[in-house]
Structure formats: structure tokens, C-alpha cells
């Protein structure tokens, strides 16, 4: 319960103090006190109110201590009256905190780290582990980001309506990256990684609750849910990734798929004339999730959705995925021609891996083996490299 309230209380404290560092210290102190007091005194009627009042008192103490050194007594006075908070203010505080963490004036790695730290309640060590960065580096990155928010005055507010689409993209991208960090790992045993996908879904849900009319928010949540629904079937008993074609679809989470598909439907109706990249990607995921078998996947629809996606944002990786769908619909030769025509992916392991797979299907074994070597050299994750090697060997 304390953890559930933590992000909300922190959001309120950032608004009140305007300083992420100070707010974190104060909330941390209040949480420690709650863990000491509640088992003795019982849980208060309003846990959040209790935490906010306690955190505010702590913040006043911290500011007073600072004030004695720099003569800023006024800052402490501002906080002196810890009154109750109407619920909608608290709700907006969380939204403000999301937009502050994901402000475009912060670097993308800093956005993700800060969102995990403040909204996810991860420790610095956990954020470092999650993003594969040494803890000391992560601590520096977080400190810099928090200082920039305070000193450069990155505003703590939800942007005006005309800025919202631009800002919402940064927020959505951050949540998506958090999800990807957890999803791309592909190893079933790593608990923290599952924690990342769950955290990203929680944040996406929050975004939808706060902005129910934004297709980007609904599309993002749908996309995450439709990917996450396949998680139980993505790794086999020995921890190797299972290709989509070979997954046991009865292990997919039907409830999650239903929720995702409903969200896609709503979002598509809202954006019929103005496709949103998250909604379109969610639509592609829905085609896969709803197909009774790999063979029965509606490849025509998948290819069309990729055409829509490319019309919004022409990225080489999206072209690669489209080529894979074309290979399923029209055969490996058609797919390979498209894959070979993509520029700029020579350093991308999945481009080589896709070539290896298609060359294998065309019985061009030697070329397939070379492509596989290139994929490994470009950093294809070891489990995926092993899985592909087994396929090429005909296992």
C-alpha cells in the first residue's frame, strides 16, 4: 500500500517544493515513518493524506536547515501549512510528474531513468540494473537530470493543448522504452525485467486514465498489452526464445488480448483520418494475437497496416518487419528482395538474422550461414543466435 501511494505523494511533493531531490528525501522519510508507525498505531484513515502531511513537515525541516545557510526562510514558510488536498489536484500532480520526467529538454536516457526512479519507485541501483548502466553512472545521470529540472526551471505542469501532441509523444516513447527494456530481454527467469513490463503497463494505464480521449495513450496501452499477452509462450522450458510461428497460442493471455483489442478498436475509431503510430502497431499486434494459428495469420492485413505505418513514419526497421510479413504472404523470395533493398541496417543484427532465415528457406544454406555469422557479429542476443543456429542446422 505504501508503494502504491508513493508515486502520488511524490508527485504532490514535487509540485509543492518544485525540487525533485528534496521531494524524494521528504517522501522517503515519510515512508520510513509509516513503516514504523502504522504497524503500531494502525493504518490511518487517509494513508495518502498522512504521508503528504508527514512529508511536508520533513520538507520544511530540510528547507529550514538549508535556509540557515542561505537565508531562504521564505521557502520554508511556503510549506508551513500542510492542508488536505482535493483528489483532482493529486491526480493532476501525477500527470504533471509524468510530463516533467519526460520533458524533451532532458535526454532520452535521462527521461527513462527519471520515470523509473520517480514514477516506478525503483532505487538508483535497480534503475541502473534495469537499463544496464553501472550504478555510479546512473546516479550521476539522475542527479544531473534533477538539477536541470530545478535550476533550468523545467516547468512542472501539463503542457498547453497545442503542445500536448508533441509532449505526449515523448511521454509515450519513454513508457514504450521502459516496456522494451523488459520485453526484449527474452529471458523468462529475470524477475526485474518482468517488473519493467508491468511498470510500463501501469504507467500506460495511468496515461489512459488521465487522457482518455488521446488515441496515442490508448494505442500505447493496447500495444503493450497485446505484446505482453504473448509473454507466457515466448520462452521455452530451457529459457530459449520461441518464435512467433512456434508459440503455443493456448498459453497466450486471452483476457489481456481482449482488453488490448477493445482499446485498438476505440483508438482506431477516433483516428480514422489521422493514423497514430502506436495505434497502427497495436493493430498489427492484434492481427497476430487474434489469429488461431501462425498459418492463419491475416498477412494481407498485416502488410496493409505496415503500409499505413510507413506512410506515417518511414523507418528501416518498420520496412524490415513489413518484408517479413510479405515473405509469409508471397514467399521467401519476395521477402528477401524487400529485405535486401533496405538501406541503413547493415549494423542491425535482426536485418542479418532475417536474411539468414529467408536464405535458409530458399535453400541457400551457405549464404544463410554467412548472414547468421554477421548477425552474431552485430550483437544478436545469445539465446536468439542459438535458436537461429538450430533452425539453420535443420534441428
Amino acid at each position: 500500500m505504501v508503494r502504491d501511494e508513493r508515486a502520488r505523494v511524490l508527485a504532490t511533493m514535487v509540485r509543492v517544493t518544485g525540487d525533485v531531490d528534496l521531494a524524494e528525501d521528504a517522501v522517503q522519510d515519510a515512508v520510513v515513518r509509516a513503516l514504523e508507525r502504522w504497524p503500531v498505531d494502525g493504518v490511518p484513515a487517509s494513508p495518502r493524506g498522512w504521508l503528504v502531511v508527514t512529508a511536508k513537515r520533513r520538507a520544511v525541516d530540510l528547507i529550514r536547515r538549508e535556509a540557515r545557510r542561505s537565508g531562504k526562510e521564505a521557502a520554508a514558510m511556503m510549506l508551513a501549512d500542510p492542508g488536505g488536498e482535493p483528489p483532482e489536484v493529486v491526480r493532476d500532480d501525477l500527470l504533471r510528474l509524468i510530463f516533467t520526467c519526460c520533458h524533451p529538454a532532458l535526454s532520452e536516457p535521462a527521461q527513462v531513468a527519471l520515470a523509473l526512479r520517480t514514477l516506478g519507485g525503483f532505487s538508483t541501483a535497480e534503475v541502473g540494473r534495469a537499463l544496464l548502466v553501472p550504478e555510479a553512472t546512473m546516479a550521476k545521470r539522475l542527479t544531473r537530470a534533477k538539477q536541470k529540472i530545478a535550476q533550468a526551471r523545467i516547468p512542472y505542469r501539463v503542457p498547453a493543448a497545442e503542445q500536448l501532441p508533441g509532449r505526449l509523444r515523448a511521454v509515450a516513447a519513454t513508457i514504450y522504452l521502459i516496456f522494451n527494456e523488459g520485453y526484449a530481454a527474452g529471458s523468462g527467469a529475470d524477475v526485474l525485467r518482468t517488473g519493467l513490463t508491468a511498470e510500463a503497463i501501469r504507467l500506460a494505464r495511468l496515461l489512459v486514465a488521465l487522457m482518455p480521449d488521446e488515441a496515442t495513450a490508448g494505442g500505447l496501452l493496447a500495444l503493450l498489452l497485446l505484446h505482453d499477452a504473448r509473454r507466457p509462450a515466448r520462452v521455452d522450458a530451457v529459457g530459449l526464445p520461441v518464435l512467433l510461428a512456434d508459440q503455443d497460442r493456448s498459453r497466450w493471455d486471452a483476457g489481456t488480448i481482449r482488453e488490448g483489442v477493445e482499446l485498438v478498436g476505440t483508438a482506431l475509431r477516433r483516428t480514422a483520418d489521422r493514423p497514430d503510430p502506436y495505434v497502427v502497431q497495436a493493430a498489427i499486434a492484434a492481427c497476430h494475437d487474434l489469429a488461431p494459428s501462425y498459418r492463419a495469420t491475416p498477412w494481407d492485413a498485416v502488410v496493409s497496416w505496415y503500409d499505413v505505418l510507413l506512410s506515417i513514419s518511414d523507418q528501416p526497421v518498420a520496412r524490415l518487419n513489413r518484408a517479413a510479413a510479405v515473405a509469409e504472404r508471397d514467399g521467401p523470395a519476395a521477402g528477401l528482395a524487400l529485405v535486401d533493398a533496405i538501406d541503413g541496417l547493415a549494423g542491425y543484427p535482426w536485418w542479418h538474422a532475417s536474411r539468414a532465415e529467408l536464405l535458409h528457406r530458399l535453400d541457400r544454406g551457405a549464404e544463410a550461414a554467412t548472414a547468421h555469422q554477421r548477425a552474431v557479429a552485430c550483437g544478436l542476443p545469445a539465446p536468439q543466435a542459438e535458436r537461429l543456429r538450430q533452425r539453420l542446422a535443420g534441428a
Binding site: 529538454a105 535550476q151 533550468a152 526551471r153 523545467i154 516547468p155 503542457p159
Partner: protein
């Protein structure tokens, strides 16, 4: 309200030469539009006029003077503005209207208030 320095980096410009008059006019246009928040600012002579000073061996050590800018880059510091804005968003919005932002880049940084 906090002060922000908006430092303009573009290809080296000699503002004193007449062929830059048109460009200068665009800067003047910005100056007028942003009049309410501008607290100062100047254009600088090109980097050929720069002299970089270092003191070797700490305070009181040998003064070493070298010809040219501190950092030799493709884009040179060509001028700066001081703007008083509510927050970074407002400062960024204004910086985007400085012609240097489309000819090069504008670095925005808060100015420290040592407040007395």
C-alpha cells in the same frame, strides 16, 4: 523571474560587413518581438578576433595568451541574449525565434542569481 542566457552558435559571422545586413534585419526583428523579456545581449566580432587567455600553474602563474577561440568548432559563438522568462519552456520558445536557431543552434542556460 529567472534569467536565461541564449547563446547563438552559427558559422562564423562578421556582423560589421554590409552583406550581413539582411541577416541583421532578422535579428532586429527578433529583438523587437522579444523586447518585453530581453534584458541584454550583444553580437560578437568573428572568432578571428578571439584571444584565449590561460594562466598556467594556478592563480598568479604564467599568463598564456593564444590566438583564436577557446574551442575550435564548426559553429562559433556569435552573440548572446539575456532573457527573463518564467521557465525553460518560455525560454526555449523564444530561443526558437532567434535566427541562429535555424542557421545553427542556440544554447539556453539559466543565469545564476546569487540573490542578495
Amino acid at each position: 523571474m529567472p534569467l536565461y542566457a541564449a547563446m547563438t552558435y552559427t558559422a562564423d559571422v562578421d556582423w560589421t560587413r554590409p552583406e550581413y545586413a539582411a541577416e541583421m534585419a532578422e535579428y532586429n526583428e527578433f529583438g523587437q518581438a522579444a523586447q518585453a523579456v530581453l534584458r541584454g545581449g550583444k553580437a560578437l566580432y568573428p572568432t578571428a578576433t578571439a584571444t584565449t587567455v590561460r594562466v598556467n600553474g594556478g592563480k598568479g602563474g604564467d599568463v598564456v595568451v593564444s590566438d583564436g577561440p577557446y574551442a575550435e568548432t564548426k559553429e562559433a559563438l556569435t552573440g548572446f541574449y539575456l532573457m527573463e522568462c518564467a521557465d525553460l519552456d518560455e525560454a526555449v520558445q523564444l530561443a526558437a525565434r532567434i535566427p541562429a536557431a535555424w542557421a545553427g543552434a542556440v544554447e539556453v542556460r539559466p543565469v545564476i542569481d546569487f540573490g542578495n
